[in-house]
Symmetry: C2
Subunit: 512 residues, 2 copies
């Protein structure tokens, strides 16, 4: 018996796992061969101790090191792809192909009005320019008078006070003309879009164009006002940005400078912008290809998937069946977030970059990484930098500078932004129902909420804040707003607008 216990006391037979994944590089085959050799050298193959030590399961709570879960991320991506592919197949079986190149659902008069607006709206920018030209002429005269008086050593405080009074009274006149011009621009465009352009797509484009020109006019007027003040009060003035040195007031009030600002991808006027050295045409070409491709994708997604979905939702909205409305909103959310992401990339990355490249406009920060935001506040300051820059420079900063509390200034910015959103959505759909405005106002409590939540550590505040952002904005806010405006549209025009009824999509709904 002793011999056996002696035998057993020598080292355990260790047959390594032949798991191929643990071997790397050149030695895989060598190692495998060695492992096979070791098995062959062993006399007893049925006795080695498989269970040789105490170990925990890797998913147990008492395990030392948690395993990686990267595989589940891959599974998640696959499930997403497969479930959406399935929905596309179901959609195709149910409705057939709804995309139709030759079906127009817009009126001839819509296109003509739209083109006229497209040509006439920029005229207001030239009116702004004329006003500034007159103001610059007046300032030039005042400047020469000041210089002359300085030569005569008549540099008394009383004279300065008179100059300031003169500047202010001129500014009131200039500001009045600017306001009339800018408001007229917005009013005329809105009036024509609301009453004369039936098609919501064309209407949105016209209204967007008018709003952009409105903001550019405002920025041009306000910036030149400060520049003129600095020009006339060189002693009191704050230093101006280094960048503007190459084009001082009033030299910047010229046609070329205005036209650059007209086409530059920004809403904020600067006499001088950072510029690139040359136009990279291959870059422009790639951007345009992206833009075209994404536009087609969005068109297919909305015609084939979003349109039937919105139509299907109508009767559910009418019966006020909340479970069904929730179900429709959920289904709409995926397609809406998809279109939103495509649209964002097409507009803010491809289109603006192509335009900036052609204009040799240097600052391409049209957006930040808004998809990672943990606070809704950060979302609104990063997703649309051109508008954020405008709001910060021409509304927030002046308000705060005049003593307005920052919180109130932010609320006023959202109020202004809410009005613009309602103009952009309500006017082209001919339903100023205030949902877009209310949506913007709703951001204020959401900002307060996520500002607090993102700082809570024990619930992973950053992730929670990001989730709240996605839920509130892309998964609830957008599809719900789309449903409400679509419902309002249908309530006003029925499903019976003549052109729309003739489209194959409508035939299917009538057959249902």
């Amino acid at each position: 018996m002793t011999t056996i216990t002696q035998m057993a006391s020598t080292s355990a037979i260790d047959i390594p796992h032949t798991n191929a994944s643990v071997y790397r590089g050149k030695t895989i085959e060598q190692k495998a061969n060695r492992s096979v050799q070791r098995i062959r050298d062993t006399k007893y193959r049925h006795v080695f101790a498989t269970h040789s030590s105490t170990r925990t399961s890797c998913l147990s709570q008492d395990t030392e090191s948690s395993p990686s879960f990267v595989g589940f991320r891959n599974l998640m991506i696959l499930v997403l792809i497969i479930s959406n592919l399935r929905l596309m197949m179901v959609n195709l079986q149910k409705y057939g192909v709804l995309i139709c190149l030759s079906c127009h659902d817009y009126r001839r008069s819509d296109v003509i009005t739209g083109l006229l607006l497209y040509l006439l709206v920029p005229a207001h920018l030239f009116v702004t320019y004329s006003i500034e030209l007159a103001a610059a002429w007046q300032a030039n005269r005042a400047y020469k008078r000041i210089l002359k008086e300085r030569e005569r050593d008549d540099d008394t405080p009383a004279k300065y006070a008179a100059a300031l009074r003169s500047f202010n009274s001129t500014w009131y006149i200039v500001a009045f003309f600017h306001s009339v011009n800018a408001v007229a621009n917005l009013y005329i465009a809105t009036r024509y879009v609301y009453y004369d352009i039936h098609h919501p797509g064309i209407g949105t484009l016209c209204e967007l164009h008018a709003v952009i020109v409105f903001l550019k006019c405002a920025s041009y007027a306000l910036t030149n006002r400060d520049l003129r003040h600095a020009y006339l009060h060189p002693k009191q003035a704050d230093p101006l940005p280094q960048l503007y040195k190459t084009c001082p007031y009033p030299l910047n009030i010229n046609m070329k400078n205005l036209c650059y600002f007209w086409w530059a991808p920004t809403l904020v006027y600067q006499p001088v912008y950072p510029r690139t050295d040359k136009i990279r045409w291959p870059f422009v070409f790639r951007c345009l290809v992206e833009l075209a491709g994404l536009s087609i994708v969005i068109w297919i997604a909305s015609a084939q998937y979003a349109a039937p979905l919105l139509q299907n939702s109508l009767d559910k909205m009418l019966t006020l069946n909340f479970t069904s409305i929730a179900e429709r909103v959920m289904k709409l959310s995926t397609i809406s977030v998809f279109c939103w992401l495509c649209g964002f990339f097409a507009l803010f990355q491809s289109a603006l970059n192509a335009l900036a490249e052609v204009m040799r406009f240097g600052d391409r920060e049209f957006y930040g990484d808004w998809w990672n935001v943990s606070s809704i506040r950060t979302y609104w300051t990063t997703w649309n930098k051109p508008v954020t820059n405008f709001m910060r420079r021409h509304i927030y900063s002046p308000l705060v500078g005049r003593g307005c509390p920052p919180a109130l200034a932010q609320i006023l910015v959202f109020l202004f932004s809410g009005i613009l959103h309602e103009l952009l959505v309500g006017v082209p759909t001919h339903n100023i129902i205030g949902v877009a405005f209310a949506g913007m106002m709703f951001q204020i409590p959401m900002i307060a909420l996520t500002d607090v939540i993102q700082k809570v550590k024990w619930i992973q505040g950053k992730v929670a804040g990001n989730m709240i952002f996605w839920v509130s904005f892309c998964l609830v806010g957008q599809p719900l707003a789309a449903l409400l405006y679509f419902f309002a549209w249908q309530a006003k025009y029925g499903s019976v607008s003549k052109q729309f009824q003739e489209s194959p999509a409508m035939n299917i709904f009538h057959r249902r």
Copy 2:
């Protein structure tokens, strides 16, 4: 004019972004206050250079540093949750509640046969024990004879050869009885399950129990064969594992040792196992709660979601409409992978850990992190360690040890595993159609494929391999196999098995 250019040459006005997210900790308010103060100290608020430098968009290809995309991961999780919640709502609207506590769809005789099998199958383990007891008695006698001959210094090679011959002839007899016993176990269980147990669930449990006892019998016989050989040939023998020292052959052939192996969560016999010091009853309790909870979840998921889906797919299978079959398989894949994950956790984490804790069984490595595998080979060696350990110790190693090429040995292991899979799926569903077997055989080319792919660097081989694993196994293999066996079941029994028809689920399908 000079004064202005001098002015402009001083430093640019820098109004910082009031973006709250860039401020951290206590100083948030201080910094915000300072920023407000700076705005108020500035005279001109409409002129600061928003565009002060050349910057790229963060999604452009020419950007220096790519932004994080963690927000899109969160969006993906949300879309997954929302789309599945939506499917649950649609299912509930379409079918109502299909879960029913009082509806039995199994026969009384099924339960009785099942219980009888549950009690009788372990008897084969005791037959194995009896055979080993006899063999140990015979070995003990032989050992004493050897000792006596050694005392008489009659230690010649001829004597040893005789002893080996005697050992081998005894082993042939022992092996014959073991084989008869083990095959009889499998045959009896399979016969009763196939002919007498209609309900596939009860049938699967019985068949699984029989297969486990079959493997335990085989491991007990084979391990003790090697231990006996080492006992009788102390000079030629390889050293035995250190762990077995406390219980040398033939002391391990006793009732208590066998009963421990009977209940231990392993298929591999060792005279001694690593043990824990005490039973942590709270741990056992938590495992049992998990097991119960997950069982309920799986039951709900299969009754409410999988069963109607499988029923819906029947007519699509009949018409051989491949697009529709693909659509059904895709829809089934999500629910099937969900049930699979729940079932895996319930069985391999909760149930086996609870059993191991009660048995004070130390080695809890019942599975590895198979969800991260980049090769299908690794999947099969990590997801089910008890079976892998059995295969490695009692099939692969002996085959390789006897000179069989490793690749052939692996194929033989899959062949054996394929037969067991077909037994476990085909027999309880009364359709030995070979899909499970073919599925296992199909793993061999898949292993060869992913072994190559995971090493390809330029397509991120690891991720690609993991994706192939998920697609082939959980998203195609499983739902397709489930559909085929369900279809074969329905083809054999129609949708008209009496009990099933009476269940509320069936009424809905008949109403359709």
